[in-house]
């Protein structure tokens, strides 16, 4: 356990509750209160694959530096679940605090002398003040927010304002919620020394930032990209993408007078069908997508290879969870990197975008459609459960009203009128991207789409040269893709160094924090965040410029490192993996320890 390093606006609160007791809204209230005080804040939901009854945790990290990654320190534990009390108590960092419901006595042998324990008779106060059983359960959660408000010096006015906004449509609920807050708050003020040395302090108002999950941001991105067809099979943790897309469509895509919908969402019978629907809709000229997770990609793989070879745009959103197999559906990992890069049999390779947070999820969702249509190929948006389902504080999303979708090389009826003959797979521009036509436009544009061998004219072939010509041309297209995908982001160290670090996606936050801490110990690393596959030229330059390159990722088999080794020459002996794959979001300590161990140093972590 790490030593306490907490202070003002730098702490972690962990709340242990039971799934299905309505703690999400209480935790949201806590998050938003900190957010409105201007404190950078993130919330990680550590939950079971269960609807009701199993233990669940929520971690709120407030950090004035803006570090967004998970931190393995626990400063304040709110232990609401008797079932997990012993474990929760053990997890508190030395010098930390624990709040529990003292309505019932604890076992005496469960105690720690290096932390401070606060007993609050939450159930008792609820029973005395609220009569309906369900309300008692809900208010017990709200009440611990009141206790935390006193302990952490949260702004009560902000909390009151939030309650009024939350229940604007159900004003009757404002009063009991407020009462529960005050009961908790007053009890803490009366019985404990409030506030604690670790506490919140207003540091602005977070103008320009929002709280959002990656799944919501992707759903919004699909809406803004002009997607009209979404096909999916429900799977944790990607379901939120379609939930968000659905609710945004209901808000923005329904004709208020006629009720007509400018979209269609199809809940498919399985992921195979979802992939087929997306490919069919894109073939006809709509922007269509499917959100899924690793098991879904496994099932979709045959169709993904089809779309690669027949060159049909399609967007596959993979919100990764823990594999292999069913794995741990409610835990996070970056273990589908290799799967998505080469999904399907035969020689196939696919562009992947790696968003690091919900802000990028929004931008990259839009980009995925542009790339898919420009390149006429399946494109993967590779998020994960940490980004997708957790609450992130990110800069506001921006939209350029001048944006127009890149529909790629499509010949419509007017274009066809001007050419003598249309052939589907001819590379007339030398970029490896042929022209396509859409059904419903003109018989002159008709061609036969097939996953079987075809030549550049679109006709069936079993001729070796004709077959190979297409396969080679697809590699030309792959080179074009390298110039179109998002660049990697370089963060140079303040000191000249031959140490490099590569990460992607949700590992970014841990790396940012770890680099600061390593720099304090005199270890300086340049950092390159990869944002896409195929690798752009900066990736190769970065690999060449460093003697040692740490590759940080959340999987066992060093999948990104393997991809780098496949794509770049003579780098194997310079790449050092730092891996984290237990299903929890990667903490910065993992990166610090990985580097210092490799450097043969011991740093007070």
């Amino acid at each position: 356990m790490n030593a306490m390093q907490s202070g003002i606006n730098d702490f972690v609160v962990k709340i242990a509750t039971v799934n299905g007791t309505g703690s999400a809204s209480a935790n949201g209230l806590l998050m938003k209160a900190l957010f409105r005080m201007g404190v950078p804040v993130t919330g990680k939901n550590l939950f079971p694959s269960n609807i009701q009854g199993l233990p669940t945790w929520y971690e709120v990290r407030a950090n004035h530096h803006g570090y967004m990654s998970r931190c393995s320190r626990i400063d304040v534990m709110v232990a609401m679940n008797a079932q997990t009390y012993q474990k929760d108590l053990a997890e508190v960092s030395p010098g930390g605090f624990l709040v529990y419901d003292s309505t019932w006595p604890r076992e005496k042998d469960l105690n720690r002398h290096d932390i401070t324990v606060f007993g609050v008779p939450l159930s008792k106060m609820c029973n005395e003040n609220f009569s309906v059983a369900r309300v008692r359960i809900l208010m017990k959660n709200v009440m611990y927010v009141g206790v935390l408000a006193a302990l952490l010096d949260l702004d009560l006015e902000i909390i009151k304002q939030l309650l009024q906004e939350t229940f604007a449509s159900k004003p009757k609920l404002i009063e009991p919620n407020l009462k529960a807050i005050m009961l908790g708050y007053d009890y803490a003020q009366e019985h404990f020394t409030c506030p604690l040395p670790i506490r919140a302090e207003t540091m602005g108002d977070n103008t320009g930032n929002i709280l959002i999950t990656g799944n919501e941001a992707i759903g919004l991105g699909c809406l803004y990209a002009g997607a009209t067809v979404g096909a999916w099979y429900p799977i944790t943790p990607s379901t939120g993408v379609m939930d968000a897309f659905t609710s945004y469509c209901e808000r923005f895509r329904i004709d208020p007078e006629t009720g007509d919908r400018n979209y269609m969402i199809i809940q498919a019978e399985d992921e195979l069908a979802a992939a087929g629907m997306v490919i069919g809709a894109n073939w006809v000229g709509a922007r269509a997508f499917t959100p899924t997770s690793g098991p879904g990609i496994s099932l979709m793989s045959e169709f993904i290879g089809f779309a690669y070879y027949a060159e049909i745009p399609s967007v596959f959103i993979n919100v990764q969870r823990v594999g292999p197999s069913t794995g741990m559906p409610t835990r996070t990992q970056q273990s589908d990197t290799m799967l998505c890069a080469y999904a399907s049999h035969g020689d196939t390779r696919h562009p992947i975008l790696f968003p690091a947070d919900p802000h990028e999820c929004f931008e990259m969702a839009v980009k995925s459609f542009d790339l898919a249509e420009r390149l006429q190929t399946p494109v993967f948006l590779l998020s994960d459960l940490d980004i997708g389902m957790n609450d992130w504080m990110v800069p506001e999303l921006n939209w350029d009203d001048a944006y127009r979708p890149d529909r790629g090389k499509v010949l419509r009826a007017d274009d066809l009128a001007e050419i003598e003959r249309f052939t589907r797979y001819l590379d007339t521009d030398g970029d490896g991207i042929p022209y396509r036509t859409l059904p419903g436009d003109d018989p002159k544009g008709a061609y036969f789409t097939r996953g079987s061998g075809h030549n550049k004219y679109g006709a069936y072939t079993e001729d070796s040269d004709e077959y190979q010509e297409i396969l080679d041309r697809l590699l030309v297209k792959w080179d074009t893709a390298k110039t179109l995908v998002p660049d990697a982001v370089l963060s140079p160290s303040s000191k000249k160094t031959k140490l490099g670090m590569i990460a992607y996606g949700s590992s970014d936050g841990a790396v940012i924090e770890a680099r600061d801490r390593l720099a304090e110990s005199g270890i300086h690393v340049n950092y390159l965040r990869i944002r896409a596959f195929p690798f752009t030229s900066e990736v190769h330059e970065f690999l060449e410029a460093h003697d040692t390159i740490y590759v940080v990722e959340q999987n066992r088999d060093a999948q990104m490192k393997a991809l780098l080794m496949l794509e770049a020459n003579d780098i194997a002996d310079r790449l050092v993996s730092i891996l984290h794959y237990n299903g929890m979001p990667i903490p910065s300590e993992c990166v610090v320890t990985g580097v210092t161990r490799h450097q043969g140093l011991e740093v007070a972590a």
Binding site: Y224, R261, P439, R450
Partner: protein, 351 residues
Amino acid sequence: MTYLARPKIELPGQKTNAIGLTLRDYEGALSTLCAGCGHDSITAALVQALWEMSLRPEMLIKLSGIGCSSKTPAYFVHGAHGFNSVHGRMPSVATGALAANRDLVGIGVSGDGDSLSIGFGQFGHVIRRNVNMLYLIENNGVYGLTKGQFSASADAGSTSKRGEVNQMQNINAVATAISMGASFVGRGFSGDRDQLVPLIKAAIAHPGCAVLDVISPCVTFNDHEGSTKSYAYTREHKLRATEADLIPPRAEIRASYYAGDTYPVRMHDGSTILLKKVDPDYDPTRRNNALGYLERHRRHGEIVTGVLFIDQNVPDMHEQSRSRLQPLRDLAFDELCPGSEELKKLQAGMK
């Protein structure tokens, strides 16, 4: 699936349809199936039916899975887009395509292996969604391309070319479709073009998923003694329950059509299917009657043909999802993207 272009020969005096196209305009590449294959007769019937219906070739999409049957979309309407997808997954591609453009006329060609084995799930769900398309099963009871294995539609007790007896019960495409809630189910025989052409036309005119099971003998692997999908067996045991004819919009519906066992079924596009009951016991508008009839005749080894079930009032996929009449893929971007002001407003709730 070798591709041979069919030489287009313009013959003076060829008949044209209502949009000025000849039968040749509805043909495709030359077939590479075995000589005498039932599938080629079905292709010819499709060409005839589509020509008679005066469908604009570019408004047609032809989709298929994998197998002998799935090669055939290349053999008709060269001016239509075709899609030879992966095995058993044609329905999902058709669903997505028709979701994106509801004005297209979808024809999915499948086989008994493609629909009743590997694609059994998608077969059921395209029916459940009532996607507006013709779902044509070219049913020969056998895997031809892999040289003669039984398919799921092979009857119990029938024998393979090598003499093995099939022990398993068959999956009956029409009974399955009716019991799964299909809005249109028919059965034909590749060797009876007079019956098949109107059946195809009625199925295309039907506003929903029209399943048409066509017995289509495999001359190479399943046309022997002991087969129940051979030309000889089918001819001998074929029984017509109903006869259908499609009367185009604007044509006069004569009073005599309402007499006796003939009755018109008006379609949403204004055309009419004229259904004539050959067997007075048969009622193609009642699911249990149709299933009972099929089962009674199945026991005697008889193959019931015609329009076997029809219900025009089942909402199709677009009606179910209340999507707009204009094809989704034609909507202007401005109608789809809410713009920067709305994004700002939306984010006010995320603070």
